[in-house]
């Protein structure tokens, strides 16, 4: 619970390079997420080049601060083909992978922020992502300038319905 409650969306980063092994731990956490029908539809594009991050920032209004790394989480549509109405499930799989990543990052002192506000067509083009792979979400990673205060949570009494709604 400490990681779950302590994680924040970090939008201001200080300088500092995330060690490669920590980044790999974060990515490993992602692949241990559950996925519908065990499709594991994800592909992750890891971007560390400052030049490329700056180019991606041009098309990502939801990306704040200067993260050390960006991970673009994509759905490989080939992996969900023929599995019925799986596109929505695949997006949920991506969300679960992203949460795993962000919790693992937090446990290593790394701040993160999930970003949906970016132009998918532009990012696909910039990163040479093939046609059958769709970027869904980005996660920015870096050392926080500060850990933000927790936003208010809707209380359990309001959102949990026992036995019946």
């Amino acid at each position: 619970m400490e990681a779950i409650k302590g994680r924040r969306s970090v939008r201001e980063f200080r300088d500092g390079r995330i060690p490669d092994d920590h980044l790999m731990t974060v990515l490993e956490a992602a692949i241990w997420a559950p996925s519908g029908s065990n499709a594991q539809p994800w592909e992750f594009v890891v971007v560390r080049s400052r030049d490329t991050i700056e180019k991606i920032k041009l098309f990502s209004p939801g990306l704040f601060g200067d993260p050390d790394a960006l991970v673009v989480l994509c759905v490989n549509k080939e992996r969900v083909k023929g599995r019925g109405p799986k596109e929505l499930v695949a997006v949920m799989d991506i969300a679960m992978a992203a949460q795993n990543m962000m919790l693992a990052a937090y446990s290593l002192g790394i701040g993160s922020c999930p970003i949906a506000s970016f132009n998918k067509t532009a990012v696909k083009e910039l990163l040479n992502i093939p046609e059958h792979v769709d970027p869904i979400l980005m996660v920015s990673l870096g050392y926080p300038e500060k850990w933000p205060e927790p936003p208010r949570r809707r209380p359990l009494e309001e959102v949990v319905h026992h036995e019946k709604y």
Partner: protein, 98 residues
């Protein structure tokens, strides 16, 4: 004419791509993200004006307000709208004092 590498590092060009990308993004995003993108663009514009030596203390204060409060949109819509009102009030002060 400047080359493309210089162009993509130009702060005006960065603002231009931000505006156009935001225009497309706002079609699908929550309606308050429109105001967020606009104040974020304003912040970028003030930073450009600063680099060009065109700001005054009052404008620097507006920049600080935006940077401090723009993320309220994610946490407290009411406060975010109040903050937008405060920004307009600050601008009026500048114009009135001219």
């Amino acid at each position: 004419m400047r080359n493309i590498k210089d162009l993509i590092q130009d702060e005006h060009f960065k603002l231009l791509t931000f505006l156009i990308t935001s225009a497309r993004g706002c079609v699908d995003e929550p309606h308050l993200y429109g105001p967020l993108r606009l104040v974020d663009a304003a912040s970028k514009l003030i930073k450009i004006m600063k680099q060009e030596g065109k700001t005054v203390d009052e404008l620097d204060r507006i920049l600080a307000m935006i940077e401090e409060k723009k993320h309220l949109v994610m946490y407290d819509e009411k406060e975010f709208i109040k903050f937008l009102d405060e920004l307009v009030a600050e601008l009026v002060k500048i114009v009135k004092s001219a």
